[in-house]
């Protein structure tokens, strides 16, 4: 069975609507990448020129030079091993490699939440990537699952940040624990934890101010927040999610590295995948740091958040090609 067929079967196990959501959300990404891919795979034969063109496509998707070289090298050796002759057969091979790379060693991209009692999720990342918005979306999702959710307004620095989270709290119908602008973020998070405990909440979502990973004092401030959470609840934070803007280029690797060092990341949220950026940097991060993508953001509204699924992701990227293969 061709890899595309297998991919399709595996994907159809999840509900139609989820697949549709991925397809719609990623339609921009997909059409631009597939356009470029098409020109590669419709070449006459598999030669060095083809591999070079493919390199360009992957680098153009922000996969990065090193990871791209690795992918193309693997493709080269697969071609040799499996004696592939037709360029059209490369595309499923490439999908397979990409899925494998994105899944890493363990396929588990689920959230590690406690079945009973309080789970704490900390959101970190550089400025403007979508931390606060993702918290709003995730709160909505957990509320719909019937969970008790509380938000902590740990960004006390950026103008209007507290009010922004409060608007999300109102939209979703959950409480927001806040202090005044300019106060100590660790103290807000501490209060959030106490409130969550007192009110018997299932989930506490902690917002933090955007900060560049290269700023030592701001990273120290974040470590302090992390320590407070660790001290107050054993095993917490249950998830520390790095929010990454999918339009980000190679700097995302540095972001992942430094935030991971400061707070031991458990996953990544890839936002703004509804644009034309391809989020290829996620592949590089998975390869270099083994941090899985857990969610993707597909818009600015409440329900524009989807659990990440490598097969869905690659399926959506190649959806035009897959449909073509079926027609044939």
């Amino acid at each position: 069975m061709s890899f595309f067929k297998r991919l399709k079967e595996s994907v159809s196990k999840t509900t139609e609507s989820v697949t549709q959501k991925f397809k719609d959300g990623l339609s921009k990404t997909s059409s631009s990448l597939v356009g470029a891919m098409d020109s590669v795979f419709s070449r006459n034969r598999i030669d060095e020129e083809l591999f070079e063109e493919l390199e360009d496509v992957l680098i153009g998707a922000d996969v990065g030079v090193q990871t791209t070289m690795e992918i193309v090298d693997r493709l080269r050796s697969e071609v040799k091993q499996r004696k592939v002759k037709d360029p059209a057969d490369l595309q499923p091979l490439l999908s397979e490699i990409l899925v494998e790379m994105l899944q890493g060693d363990d396929r588990d991209t689920a959230m590690n939440l406690k079945a009973d009692g309080l789970s704490i999720i900390l959101f970190v990342g550089v400025n403007g990537v979508g931390k606060t918005t993702t918290i709003g979306k995730l709160a909505h999702q957990y509320r719909q699952e019937g969970k008790r959710v509380i938000l902590a307004a740990g960004d006390t620095f950026r103008a209007g940040a507290i009010e922004q989270l409060e608007v999300w709290g109102e939209r979703v119908g959950v409480d927001v624990i806040r202090h005044q602008a300019g106060s100590d973020p660790a103290a807000v998070i501490y209060d959030g934890i106490q409130a969550a405990k007192a009110r018997g909440a299932d989930i506490l979502l902690c917002d933090t101010a955007g900060r560049l990973h290269s700023k030592v004092n701001l990273m120290e401030e974040l470590k302090k927040v992390y320590r407070v959470i660790q001290r107050e609840v054993p095993e917490a934070p249950h998830e520390t999610l790095l929010v990454l803007d999918s339009t980000t280029g190679q700097n995302a690797l540095q972001q992942a590295k430094w935030f991971n060092e400061a707070t031991r990341l458990s996953g990544i949220v890839l936002t703004k995948m509804d644009g034309t950026a391809k989020g290829g940097i996620a592949v590089a991060i998975r390869r270099e740091l083994s941090i899985p993508v857990k969610w993707i953001g597909l818009g600015e509204k409440l329900d524009d958040l989807q659990p990440f699924d490598a097969e869905q992701f690659v399926h959506a990227l190649f959806v035009q090609a897959i449909e073509k293969e079926e027609e044939a």
């Binding site: 153009g60 550089v126 400025n127 209007g160 700097n251 703004k272 644009g275």
Partner: protein, 306 residues
């Protein structure tokens, strides 16, 4: 990590050219491979890189280099010159000749428009201007509040009609108020939007038609990757940009987006955002950016060594 060693690799490639009485085409080719890598890892768009490397190679194997006494040095100089030139050569200023001058900020979500609106107003206030800030983002939660807090911090008025009014109407009435009150500059903040979102792009065009801005500045996150060209191209096509502001340059990104954006829009980068505070805005320097993109702390020292 990806960046480490690049600067060294570049240096070693270039050092092979050092002191050579003669540079062969293959010497240049090897050096250009490293330059290509440096640019790609700095997120310069791959198509832009291709053109750039071709142009530099041509100059490098040309008369001016081959005939010189220090060809290695000449190659590096060519790379640096071409890069600086590509980014506009010298500093480019705002056009503030109209009374009032209308400046409109546009860009993707989270790029730094609202913050830059505050910073730019602060910058102009220090030059004895009297800016009015207009809160044209009615979509993002607390966007108006954010601008009002910034207005407070810098002691400047903010015009708002709340979030139930149409942004076109807000912009128009903001400019009208500036005329009445004698503000000489109007800065219009707009909501972040995707370049592929037609409805939202139409809204920007409607604002432009109503208030005829003197400056339309695209705010671009310096950490943007390969997609920067698509974004810039679309915004330029729809809006006829007059300039670019590159934000978040206080980090460790190489900022190749600057080069990509400049080369597809041909609009000068006018300012660089260097932090979150209102005074963290600087005029943009192409020559410094060139060294940064190449990952060469100081190209000039390199040239001396070569």
């Amino acid at each position: 990590m990806a960046f480490e060693g690049l600067s060294e690799r570049l240096q070693s490639a270039l050092s092979k050219l050092r002191g050579k009485g003669k540079v062969s085409e293959s010497d240049v080719k090897a050096a250009m491979r490293e330059v290509r890598l440096a640019l790609l890892e700095a997120d310069v768009n791959f198509k832009v890189v291709k053109d750039f490397v071709a142009r530099v190679s041509e100059r490098a194997v040309g008369q001016e280099v081959m005939k010189s006494l220090t060809p290695g040095q000449q190659v590096i100089k060519v790379v640096n010159e071409e890069l600086t030139q590509l980014m506009g050569g010298q500093q480019s200023k705002l056009d503030l000749s109209s009374k009032p001058s209308v400046i409109m900020m546009v860009g993707l979500q989270g790029a730094g428009k609202t913050t830059t609106t505050g910073k730019l107003a602060h910058h102009l206030k220090k030059q004895n201007k009297h800016p009015l800030l207009v809160a044209g983002d009615v979509y993002r939660p607390a966007a108006i509040r954010q601008l009002e807090v910034l207005g407070d911090q810098i002691g400047l008025p903010v015009f708002s009609l709340g979030d139930q009014e149409n942004p076109v109407e807000i912009a128009e009435r903001g400019v009208a108020q500036a005329k009445e009150e004698g503000n000489d500059v109007v800065l219009i903040d707009t909501a972040g939007r995707l370049h592929v979102d037609e409805t939202m792009m139409d809204e920007l065009k409607a604002i432009r038609e109503k208030v005829e801005p003197d400056e339309i500045l695209l705010v671009v996150d310096a950490m943007t990757g390969q997609d920067a060209v698509n974004v810039a191209e679309s915004f330029h096509q729809e809006m006829a940009l007059t300039g670019v502001v590159l934000t978040k340059l206080d980090g460790d990104t190489r900022g190749g987006a600057a080069l990509s954006v400049k080369s597809v829009t041909d609009c000068p980068v006018k300012f660089a955002g260097m932090g979150e505070k209102v005074d963290a805005l600087e005029p943009f320097h192409p020559e410094r950016m060139a060294s940064r993109i190449l990952g060469m702390g100081d190209v000039l020292t390199l040239i001396e060594k070569a």
